[in-house]
């Protein structure tokens, strides 16, 4: 094949433009609506502009700030616990061969594949009994069901590509297990941990169903508010909230796009199903 074949043809350009239009299409109006007061069919731009949606958000009575705070606290706690549990488990799955490993992998993967409705409804009764329903702690606990499998499987992908010889060498030179971990293992797997942690954060940040079931409408998070505005089709408010909801995802994408492109091993672990 000559070099021509690696260049884009007009047909390819149709694909590129199609991708750009369909990716950005649903996002652009969301950035205009929060500034619109009246914007009727068939106008392409609002006839009256306003910032009332933002004033509403900044108003302490509107619950938006409380919801953002709750979402952040829950997602940070969930991420930290997932990292603490997922890194060791990922190491076991990524670096060791043992009997029943396939079964263990399937069990850890199952909560991220099997629809969580039955599990969460089942837990709800127990949580009511334990006083965990309608509490932040209860919401954190159920968010762990999808994030721990994600973190573990990502880390097992990272550890599968990690060379344990360095650990052996450090230990043979007299380093303790802890010292070896902090000086040798941690720096090697750190980029993988960061990527996995950011996605665990996003999984918790975007969670609606689990929060509404266990939080019982008492623990207000951002997706809950956004969902109720979207259900009532209030375009200005739902778009403003949607932008705030979107921000962490965009920030995280800037950090991770280089990890995702091509040779990412953090996605590789999912090949096990």
């Amino acid at each position: 094949m000559d070099i021509e074949d690696t260049k884009a043809s007009p047909l390819h350009w149709i694909v590129y433009i199609g991708v750009i239009v369909s990716v950005l299409g649903p996002l652009i109006p969301q950035f205009i609506w929060p500034f619109a007061k009246s914007w009727f069919f068939p106008d392409l731009l609002p006839s009256v502009w306003s910032v009332r949606a933002w004033e509403y958000i900044a108003n302490p009575n509107s619950q938006v700030l409380e919801a953002v705070w709750n979402s952040l606290v829950i997602a940070v706690l969930v991420t930290c616990i997932s990292v603490l549990l997922g890194v060791p488990a990922g190491k076991a799955l990524g670096m060791y061969r043992f009997r029943g490993k396939g079964l263990v992998e399937l069990f850890i993967l199952a909560p991220s594949i099997i629809p969580g409705l039955a599990v969460t409804m089942g837990i709800h009764v127990v949580f009511i009994r334990l006083g965990l329903s309608d509490t932040l702690l209860g919401v954190v606990l159920v968010h762990l069901i999808p994030t721990i499998p994600y973190m573990t499987i990502s880390m097992s992908g990272i550890f599968a590509n990690y060379d344990p010889d360095f650990e052996e060498q450090a230990r043979s030179l007299g380093a303790s297990t802890f010292k070896t971990f902090f000086i040798i293992t941690l720096p090697a797997i750190f980029p993988g941990i960061v990527t996995g942690a950011m996605f665990a954060f996003l999984i918790s940040w975007g969670q609606y169903l689990l929060t509404v079931l266990i939080g019982g409408g008492r623990v207000i998070t951002l997706p809950l508010l956004l969902f109720s505005f979207a259900a009532s089709r209030d375009n200005a408010f739902m778009s403003a909230l949607s932008i705030i909801f979107l921000l962490p995802a965009i920030i995280i994408l800037f950090f991770t796009s280089k990890f995702l492109s091509g040779k990412s091993s953090s996605m590789g672990g999912f090949g096990t199903i």
Binding site: V15, P42, A89, I114, G122, A231, A249, G262
Partner: protein, 286 residues
């Protein structure tokens, strides 16, 4: 420390949390689906809820709609992910930005795109406005109903938006790992472009994206927010139906809600087991 102890210690925290929350929750859900709820004084053990499930027309309609949406969006995702990934393999000016946009949807929450789909594709949305400006329609009611429609087109659009990049990135990495050599070899032996794709690229790509497709299918099968916002109230998808039954003030609807949710979990579990069997047979191991 022996190797065995190390492995057990490393896995113990994760396994025990998942046993408590996941298996525990599943077991409780199962018990309630059999009508066993001692907390509210229901001590029977029966399969009435499952019986009424399959006799209920709304459940069957919901199941059909859910399957239609999941199967069509998963298949379309695979096809479009392969097409777009093949296009993004080429070099072109502005590739970095286009690449960024291609991966962009992976991190965006589903609700954001459901909101965007409402703003673009509802009858007073941006698409209808552009159609009016272009003189294609005179009135907004003439714009085709693609949100809250019978076929769930708006819902499928959101799933495609989210999933094509997820699968596409995997296809890109498969293409990168395989390089151009096999394709070039096939071409130099006289294969047409299509033949090289059909017999060289496709057999490599398909097994690589099957796990991701299973993830897509099970996600769309159980998803709640998107069909709630972009679907019709009747018939709705199975997860929305289960939630509605669960939130019913009549506690007698509880076992049926649980049975619906347990059915969903069982259906996906059986799918995954069948898939693993098939995979085992195809590759001749396990």
């Amino acid at each position: 420390m022996t190797k065995r102890t190390t492995i057990v210690l490393l896995l113990f925290p994760t396994i025990s949390v998942l046993v408590l929350l996941f298996l525990g929750g599943l077991a409780m859900g199962l018990m309630q689906s059999f009508g066993y709820m001692p907390l509210i004084g229901m001590n029977d053990f029966n399969i009435d809820a499952y019986g009424s499930l399959f006799g209920d027309q709304e459940f069957l309609l919901s199941l059909a709609l859910t399957l239609w949406i999941s199967i069509s969006s998963t298949l379309l995702t695979m096809v479009l992910a392969i097409i777009t990934a093949l296009a993004f393999r080429k070099t072109f000016s502005g590739k970095r930005i286009a690449n960024f946009l291609y991966q962009f949807p992976i991190t965006i929450p589903h609700i954001v795109i459901a909101v965007g789909t409402l703003l673009v594709f509802s009858q007073s949305g941006m698409a209808a406005r552009f159609a009016h400006q272009a003189g294609l329609i005179a009135d907004q009611n003439q714009f085709p109903v693609v949100v809250s429609d019978k076929l769930g087109l708006g819902i499928i659009y959101v799933y495609l938006w989210k999933q094509i990049p997820f699968v596409g990135v995997i296809v890109l990495s498969i293409l990168q790992a395989m390089g151009n050599n096999y394709e070039e070899l096939a071409r130099s032996l006289g294969a047409s472009k299509w033949q090289a794709f059909r017999h060289v690229l496709l057999p490599t790509i398909i097994p690589g994206i099957l796990p991701a497709s299973i993830i897509c299918f099970s996600f769309t099968f159980g998803s709640y927010e998107v069909p709630f916002l972009l679907g019709r109230p009747y018939p709705t998808v199975i997860s929305v139906l289960a939630m509605r039954l669960y939130q019913d003030v009549d506690l007698n609807a509880r076992p049926q809600a649980m049975a619906t949710a347990v059915f969903m979990a069982a259906f996906i579990s059986i799918m995954v087991v069948l898939y693993k069997r098939l995979l085992g047979k195809m590759s001749g191991r396990r």
